[in-house]
């Protein structure tokens, strides 16, 4: 018991009260942190309206209005997807999260095959199941897709297609013996990285119909997806290029010396090593893409944030605490996703750097 107190006192002296100036600073920071935590707990829990209607929220304005989220949660999750068909979304979501869970857990057998399934089979499968129109599944037009489901669809489409395209672009950019291929890749990458994401979405939303024959009809969601694929593959290409450049020259030379062809050397020697180095960077890019999916709200698609924004704009739910509640809910959801990805990225980085130091 005594020992424990001594340790605490030592820690406090070392970290908080090691000088007069820092003692004052610590007290001020501690008070601020305490005040902040008190305000947040108060607003989110103690003063919040947990059950009731908008009338209760208007009366108790000093806390969150959770009925707003409770009433609309299914819209936030599924958009306007027909309610009797939502089991399809649930199945796809279950496979999605189960797959990711299996991949994160390191002792799962057949991880390579699961990666292949998640990257190649699953996107097609989920498109068929969600869209329907085959077998006995009724057709659900993409105009009715929305909410968190749409956010995940956009994020996964751009991630899944940007990886292979990004690798090709990065290889092309480093192909010094093919000047034309290299020039094309440089221009492609620098163009899409140089312009704001929202202008890319504007461009595909307004210009794609102009450049395609009138018979080809792209709906709004597909146009947004085209935009996402274009710029996300450019972002991914830069990450891959970093990984390729980070690899020692000897690896290239050794695979050449063994008489491997270009593609043999890339797929068996270079990429397996480089991709491992790139995982943290790829995860950071994925976080960025995940956050960027919110921009479709500006071109009129109702993703997770879009549904919440639409709910807030509903005059029947007019109360000063409703916008705070809606945005706080959205912020918590986005934060959980992004933060867990960044923690995982840090973990992987740490793991790999340990492996390298041991050598």
């Amino acid at each position: 018991m005594k020992n424990w107190l001594k340790d605490l006192r030592y820690w406090l002296q070392e970290n908080l009260f090691f000088s007069y100036k820092n003692s004052i600073l610590s007290v001020v920071a501690g008070l601020f942190l305490f005040w902040l935590a008190y305000q947040l707990v108060n607003w989110f829990f103690l003063q919040a309206v947990w059950v009731g209607t908008i009338e209760d929220c208007r009366i108790h304005q000093e806390g969150a209005c959770w009925p707003f989220v409770q009433v609309r949660i299914s819209q936030f999750l599924y958009g306007f997807y027909p309610s009797e068909e939502r089991w399809r979304v649930n199945i796809i979501l279950f496979i999605f999260f189960a797959g990711i869970g299996l991949l994160v857990y390191e002792r799962t057998p057949y991880r390579g095959k699961i990666v292949f399934f998640m990257l190649c089979v699953f996107p097609l499968l989920s498109w068929l199941v969600l869209r329907g129109g085959i077998l006995w599944l009724t057709d659900v037009p993409t105009g009715r897709w929305g909410g968190f489901m749409l956010t995940l669809v956009l994020a996964s489409v751009s991630i899944v297609s940007s990886l292979p395209l990004g690798i090709l672009l990065a290889l092309g950019r480093r192909a010094n013996s093919l000047p034309f291929v290299k020039a094309f890749c440089v221009v492609f990458i620098e163009f899409w990285r140089g312009v704001p994401v929202i202008t890319v979405l504007f461009a595909t939303a307004f210009m794609l119909p102009l450049f395609l024959p009138a018979s080809v009809n792209f709906d709004q969601l597909l146009r947004a997806m085209v935009g996402f694929i274009l710029f996300s593959s450019a972002y991914m290409a830069e990450i891959v290029r970093g990984g390729l450049e980070g690899l020692q020259r000897g690896q290239y030379e050794a695979s050449d010396a063994l008489g491997m062809s270009y593609w043999q050397s890339r797929t068996r020697v270079i990429l397996p090593q480089a991709l491992k180095l790139m995982i943290p960077g790829i995860l950071l890019t994925i976080i960025g893409l995940f956050k960027d999916t919110t921009l479709v709200l500006i071109i009129g698609l109702l993703d997770f944030l879009g549904m919440i924004q639409a709910g807030i704009a509903d005059p029947r739910w007019g109360s000063p605490n409703v916008p705070f509640t809606g945005y706080a809910f959205a912020a918590i959801v986005y934060f959980c996703f992004c933060y867990s990805m960044s923690i995982y990225a840090r973990y992987i980085e740490h793991k790999f750097s340990e492996g390298r130091e041991r050598r």
Binding site: P196, I198, T199, F335
Partner: protein
């Protein structure tokens, strides 16, 4: 053909020919489609529409603009609004980011944790969500001018749900003297800084720099201003029946966007600053401490100047990101380049190709220019191994 395929050089040529013919074919197809579709819609390609009258108003413009002005002028207005928010945002985000980044490295555990909470929170929430939060939840519910002032009342300064409204300053003729004195003070300050540097280099003794320069630059123009008897008039905004007339308004959307951009970008800058300072070997700080420098002095004179070499390239790319992200103005209708030109003007004219071309080339030339400058910078500051 077979012989060509057998050598790697030949295969390279085949790949390139295939790619180039494919590209040319694709481009021709797209252009042909575009011409056909535009003909169908009765549109003629060309930039002639830039001279036509735009017919829409813009709530905030740095140059004179009204409904009769041309589309070309609307483009310039939007561009200037983008430049305005980007330049103010960059300055503020740099200050905040450096502060948070240095706090993150503080030996004080609580201060470092506070900075960490800030960084992780704001980096992991989408920027658009933050913009909407500040705009819809925080700034829009501010009181309206109608609730603040009675009809016919005039006021000097007010921050309400329309934005920051203040009396427009109108300088009298003698006001130019104040500006000249400011110029004079700046020149003298620069001279003083150069002199103290020279003195430290040659004699090793230090003279105060910050306080004298600051008081000269602030004090001299103020003194002249009051000596001349305040040669500045103000035309105050006057409350009308529903809204106010006159005065200068900085729209509320500007503050929502600026605030969100600064907070979001500062979190990224803080991480860059932290990584940059940690990239400097600890021996540098130890050497500085053993020479008797304090923590603040060590940071300012030893660590940060070396860390800047690591910090500046990613920092510029954050500046570029901030500028590109300012295009999210379209979500809350702050009249920046994208929302005025690629939004309103495009909807009115339907000239998607020309307008997107102009808009994209502005951002593209900016980012190409930045990466060019960065390449030059990096080749200049690269450490040369012995």
């Amino acid at each position: 053909m077979r012989a060509l395929w057998a050598s790697s050089k030949g295969r390279g040529i085949i790949y390139q020919v295939l790619l180039s013919t494919g590209l040319v074919f694709l481009i021709l197809l797209l252009v042909a489609n575009a011409f056909y579709n535009m003909e169908q819609r009765g549109l003629k390609a060309g930039f002639g529409f830039l001279d036509r009258s735009a017919g829409f108003g813009i709530v905030q413009s740095l140059i004179s603009y009204d409904e009769t002005s041309s589309y070309g002028r609307a483009f310039v207005v939007g561009l200037l609004n983008t430049v305005l928010i980007a330049s103010i945002g960059i300055v503020l985000a740099t200050f905040l980011g450096f502060m948070i980044g240095i706090m993150r490295l503080s030996p004080n555990w609580l201060v470092s944790k506070l900075a960490n909470i800030y960084i992780e929170t704001f980096r992991n929430i989408p920027l658009l969500l933050q913009i909407l939060f500040w705009y819809v939840a925080v700034l829009k519910p501010l009181p309206a001018p109608l609730d603040l002032f009675k009809k016919g009342e005039s006021f000097l300064l007010s921050f309400n749900n329309r934005g920051l409204v203040f009396a427009t300053p109108v300088p009298q003729a003698s006001f130019s003297l104040v500006l000249w004195s400011l110029f004079f003070a700046v020149v003298v300050s620069i001279g003083w800084v150069l002199y103290t540097r020279w003195r430290q280099k040659t004699k090793g003794s230090q003279l105060p720099v910050g306080l004298p320069c600051f008081s000269l630059i602030l004090g001299l123009p103020l003194a002249i201003f009051f000596l001349l008897g305040s040669p500045l008039d103000f035309t105050s905004p006057v409350m009308g029946r529903f809204t106010y007339d006159g005065g200068t308004t900085v729209v509320i959307e500007f503050f929502a966007l600026l605030w969100a951009l600064v907070i979001y970008t500062a979190a990224f800058i803080a991480e860059i600053v932290r990584a940059g300072i940690q990239g400097i070997p600890y021996g540098q700080s130890e050497a500085a401490y053993s020479l008797g420098l304090k923590r603040g002095q060590t940071l300012k004179l030893v660590t940060i100047p070396q860390a800047l070499r690591i910090i500046i390239p990613p920092l510029t790319s954050q500046y570029l990101n901030l500028t590109k992200n300012s295009s999210l103005a379209a979500a809350i209708a702050y009249p920046d380049l994208v929302s005025v030109f690629a939004g309103t003007a495009l909807n009115q004219t339907g000239r998607a190709i020309e307008i997107m071309f102009l808009t994209l080339s502005v951002y593209l030339s900016l980012s190409l220019l930045t990466s060019l400058v960065m390449n030059v910078y990096q080749s200049h500051t690269r450490l040369i191994d012995r």
